[in-house]
Point group: C2
Chain length 687, copies 2
């Protein structure tokens, strides 16, 4: 218990550090009167949005509390319902507060960054980074302080048993979730609507440059960067952090009930405190000793989490930076128009799910394995294994304050660029903000990869916690959960390969027709006949070559998963008071099968129907059904064949072609193949 005092200490330290950073930003030169003018318009817009948003959320919260309360009331659990409701309010308020302050400082930082940019790049970077870090530290600190003080009050002051209190504070996570949903959704819609709207009405319709002061939507666009990326992502990470704190505490309860050692429940909060201090001071910390002799197993779990966070940064970089194949492929595909750009982009996007799923699966398996090796008297390997995954998840979020600081850096520099343009600052300042802006774009992409991984791991934690709560009679071991992850990934990866195969095979036939045109000019003149047979044959070879990879994937994946789980160390499946030994292989394949099937149905439906709808939207326009009001009042104009609208519809139709005729129908087959292959090979998976 000696390390418990660290929790409030670390929380307050983070708050003071954030306050220092805020003070440091605010005392700087706020820029020219023009800059301040623009900045204050952004400020007012952002605050007006937040106010309106929070009042919407407040209305929704009333409903939620009522529901949560009655949920407990029906089972006659009045007190529990009340405590959960209070925790909900605290969580929602803490999330809203973190968002509000973070955005306040971020919006205040932009004019100061613009002003600093008129002097030096170094100063501009300092201001924008410090402004961003305010959010980062506040989010981490408020989550820690909120969860720990509610736990303290519920258990020590109100006298709920230590084993019950963690379940009561789930309401805190729910409140944070609820605010985050609307912050991210509302903010996300706002920022893109303003962005797309400003571009279309300004650049496209009126022909004026980007960020031109004559465009009334420009300020809304700048406001959008703050409410979407800054407040939205802050709420997202606040929620991940709180969910992980609470989920890990709930999983610790299982070990606490045996060892009667409350450290297991409090450990996640202690770990988080050290994480904060490490982030501020640059210390590496080892608070794992509170876990007793077997601490090192969990320490390795924490390292796996940190490694996972780093892996996600690299994965995101590989897939979204111009230095590697994926982005270059898309750039190359642009040469043949918007349709091929979209097709190859979709294929690349689907491909990225593989690395993500495999990394998450590896992190869960490895930390489960390490955790299950810990030998706590009376506690089974399954329970310590799940706790190990909780520690890994928390390890990943150790660096959350930095990540969030990087993320908020983006909108600050983006805004600073807009303010510079708007206020007619010198060209040199614009160069500096442009450089900052492109750094900001990269950091934003990286933090998104981090956010999705942390959300995923947090959700797995919560899922374990849910199963822990509803009934103690069924646990779903990792070898059911992981194949499910792989099952959904499989249908995306398979679709990616199928869509890309069309592009590759089309390249082969294009080369051939070009060669024939080049070598026999008589073909285009109409005097000699092209060699159709050769074109047919080359396409056939290309198509059959391209079908190998997705085909192998479809046949090989269920076999690989089944064998992997068949021959690896298996965990017992606990079903109520009964334990089934060694369910690994067949249970893993069942999970893969069920979710591969369902994911396949949904994705195939999407591909088939979107392709058909695009096709017919083009036909609809060609048939002259698309009519708009013309410039002459009262008259209507038909946008038919040859208009820009028609050209746009042709792009959609082309994008839809490989969707509806290759990926969709191939998925129908995949889902049935998965079932038959597993049925045939079932003997392999049963020990």
């Amino acid at each position: 218990m000696e390390l418990v005092f660290m929790i409030p200490l670390a929380g307050l330290a983070a708050v003071f550090y954030a306050a220092y950073l805020a003070w440091d930003v605010l005392r700087r030169d706020p820029g020219t009167p023009e800059m301040q003018d623009v900045s204050s318009m952004i400020f007012e817009g952002a605050m007006a949005f937040l106010k309106r948003q929070y009042s919407t959320i407040a209305e929704g919260s009333g409903g939620n509390i009522t529901i949560g309360y009655s949920a407990n009331a029906v089972v006659d659990n009045w007190e529990e319902g009340l405590l959960t409701g209070i925790a909900f309010l605290v969580g929602a308020a803490a999330s809203a507060l973190a968002g509000y302050i973070g955005m306040y400082i971020s919006v205040r930082s932009n004019a100061r960054t613009a002003s600093a940019a008129t002097r030096s790049l170094k100063e501009a970077i300092t201001v924008s980074l410090r402004g961003g870090a305010v959010s980062g530290f506040l989010v981490v600190a408020l989550s820690l302080l909120g969860v720990s003080s509610i736990f303290f009050i519920y258990s020590q002051v109100l006298g709920n048993p230590d084993a019950i209190a963690p379940f009561l504070i789930v309401g805190f996570g729910f409140g944070a979730s609820f605010v985050a949903l609307f912050a991210q959704l509302g903010g996300g819609i706002y920022t893109k609507a303003a962005d797309v709207g400003a571009d279309l009405v300004g650049k496209v319709e009126a022909g004026i440059p980007e960020d031109d002061p004559r465009n009334a939507a420009v300020i809304a666009d700048l406001v959008g960067d703050n409410v979407g990326d800054c407040a939205g992502r802050g709420a997202d990470l606040f929620e991940s952090m709180s969910a992980e704190n609470i989920g890990a505490m709930i999983l610790g309860v299982a070990i606490f009930t045996v060892t009667d050692n409350v450290e297991w429940i409090i450990f996640p909060l202690v770990l988080r405190s050290f994480g904060i201090l490490a982030t501020i001071a640059g210390l590496t910390s080892v608070p794992f000793f509170v876990l007793g002799d077997e601490w090192y197993w969990f320490f390795f779990c924490g390292l796996i989490g940190i490694g996972t966070g780093i892996a996600f940064v690299y994965i995101t970089q590989y897939y979204t930076s111009g230095a590697w194949r994926p982005v270059r492929d898309i750039a190359n595909a642009s040469r043949t128009g918007p349709a091929t750009n979209i097709i190859i982009g979709t294929s690349v996007g689907m491909e990225t799910t593989a690395a993500t799923a495999i990394t998450i699966a590896f992190a869960l398996v490895a930390s489960f394995f390490l955790g299950s090796e810990a030998d706590i008297p009376g506690v089974g390997g399954f329970t310590t294994g799940v706790f190990g995954t909780a520690v890994a998840t928390m390890g990943m979020l150790m660096s959350a304050a930095y990540i969030l600081a990087m993320d908020t850096f983006g909108p600050i520099t983006d805004n600073a660029g807009g303010i510079t343009e708007f206020s007619g600052a010198p060209e040199s300042a614009r160069h500096i903000t442009d450089a900052l802006d492109s750094v900001g774009n990269t950091t934003k992409a990286l933090t998104k990869g981090f956010a999705v991984a942390s959300a995923g791991l947090a959700a797995f934690l919560l899922f374990s916690a849910y199963l822990d709560k509803v009934k103690e009679r069924v646990n779903v071991p990792l070898n059911e959960q992981l194949p499910i992850l792989i099952g959904v990934m499989l249908v995306f990866l398979f679709s990616s390969l199928a869509i890309r195969a069309v592009g590759n095979a089309a390249g082969a036939i294009i080369e051939e027709v070009r060669r024939q045109f080049r070598e026999d000019p008589g073909i285009l003149a109409g005097t000699s006949r092209p060699d159709y047979g050769r074109a047919v044959d080359i396409t056939a070879r290309a198509a059959l070559r391209e079908m190998i990879a997705p085909g192998l994937l479809a046949v090989g994946m269920p076999i690989a998963v089944g064998l992997l789980f068949r021959f690896t160390r298996s965990e017992e499946l606990i079903l109520g008071d009964r334990t089934i030994d060694d369910p690994s292989g067949w249970l893993a394949v069942a999970g893969l099968l069920m979710v591969g099937t369902i994911g396949g149905i949904i994705l195939a439906t999407f591909f088939n129907n979107v392709g058909g709808a695009w096709d017919n939207a083009k036909k609809y326009i060609e048939a002259g059904h698309l009519q708009v009001e013309s410039a002459n009042p009262g008259a209507v104009e038909t946008l038919g064949k040859g208009t820009d609208a028609h050209k746009a519809a042709v792009v959609g139709d082309t994008v839809g072609d490989p969707f509806k005729d290759t990926a969709g129908p191939s998925l129908h087959v995949l889902i049935k193949l998965l079932s038959t292959i597993t049925l045939v090979l079932a003997p392999l998976f049963i020990p």
Copy 2:
């Protein structure tokens, strides 16, 4: 057993009917020498592709048999392994044969349709429909004859017990699956590669019209229609049909072992036979009496299946026909360019998954419920319920021969149009083939909706059969499977709403800026200042209004699913020798949660990364990194800002914006919210 003789009778009747149709098509006028010339080029190309494809498949089959054989060998089940291997070969051969003959007739029908089109529309329709129907009847007949004769040989001749034989013929389904995978994948890649390639190199590069004889790729394009739609879809439906026959038989075994009445195993084949006869003669058939006194419950299940098939035709029509909102929305979005066309199209496509998932879920629940009401002495409601879903699935495929005929009609008319153009036939014939072609497009879209639904239901059947096989100790009741379907649907529908919200909110700000430009001309002149605040406020209102629907969906869905399954009649969960009563609510929510989480992670990863990749592909081009060989040998040309490649990249970037900044990050939040809300509301779902 009296009705068993119907099985070979119906199978042979279908074969003879197909032979009659084929004879009728082949005896007709094969057209002018020019038409025959084009047609024979298509024929040669298609056959060359099939030959090459089948030899690839044959190589793969060798590997599969070895694997399947050793799977059984490791558990010392030599004989079973051998029988499964033989069934695999028969299934693969039957599928290949159906594909070969169907395509032979289809390719032979196209010139005859083109020739008929020079005379009358009526004759052209007759030829193309009859040509298509050959495939339809052959597929149904070969599946029925293949499954029933292998069952007969394995059980009656080789003396395997009736309860074992259905498991041995799973190899037949696997063989059909394997051929279908490559037929659909290879064919799908071929058809779109040839299509896209022919368009890009012909229309775009050389500036010659579509289907122009000077383009060497045109014949490949016409070949592609046959190998993709005709052979591919035929193999797909052959597989669905075989999978359902076998899956239903396996599920019948459970009832057979109690009642000792082999009708329960054979019933699916009898039902299929009557379906064939009904299709040929237009009879309605009631072979349900073999099931004894309680037959009517299963009869209703069959009706539900037929209704589901019809529902899918309407759903597909609604989403892909110009007569309704979805396609009109896409057409309207085309007015603002290719990017908005793609964005709204994607949103519509994701929306369609809801109707699909709900219809499948309804069909499964309703037929399970009806089936479980049947009172068979000694057989539990769970077993008869699952059998009910099998009957519903088969009911849906009753009309498969018609569906397949409609599907093959498409490539025949498409080819006939190409032949007409190619051979210089009169203008009037082209009008007729154009009319046929547009009918063919609609029938192709409809059959795809049917194919995905049948594939889905067949896969559920096989999944039940798999669980039946691996261990008799766990069954996964519908209230775990269905929420999983709904979980995946939820993340697609949520994304659809989030993406569309951006479009709607952008519309609001565009209207406002336009209004300001119109009402105060001084703004564009630079003399008066736009009302930024109003634009900010309008966007805020629009964004917050638009977030309501996805927000309600996220909060409401887990509650609705939990309550629905909590208060409906629950099934017992059988875990080995132990039965848990009434697991409905919490188990349903667990399924929703787990799969919503995993689907959300995968989809968010896709959205985030594809958006980032598109963004950076644009930046890559803007930075001047995209270089191509220029016309002067040895020199390179940079495709930078302002080129067509750059414009295409801008479209991709715009499409990616709402993906990466609205849908992706909102999904992070959704997956955590799902967990917290269920944790809080858990008491509601536990009886």
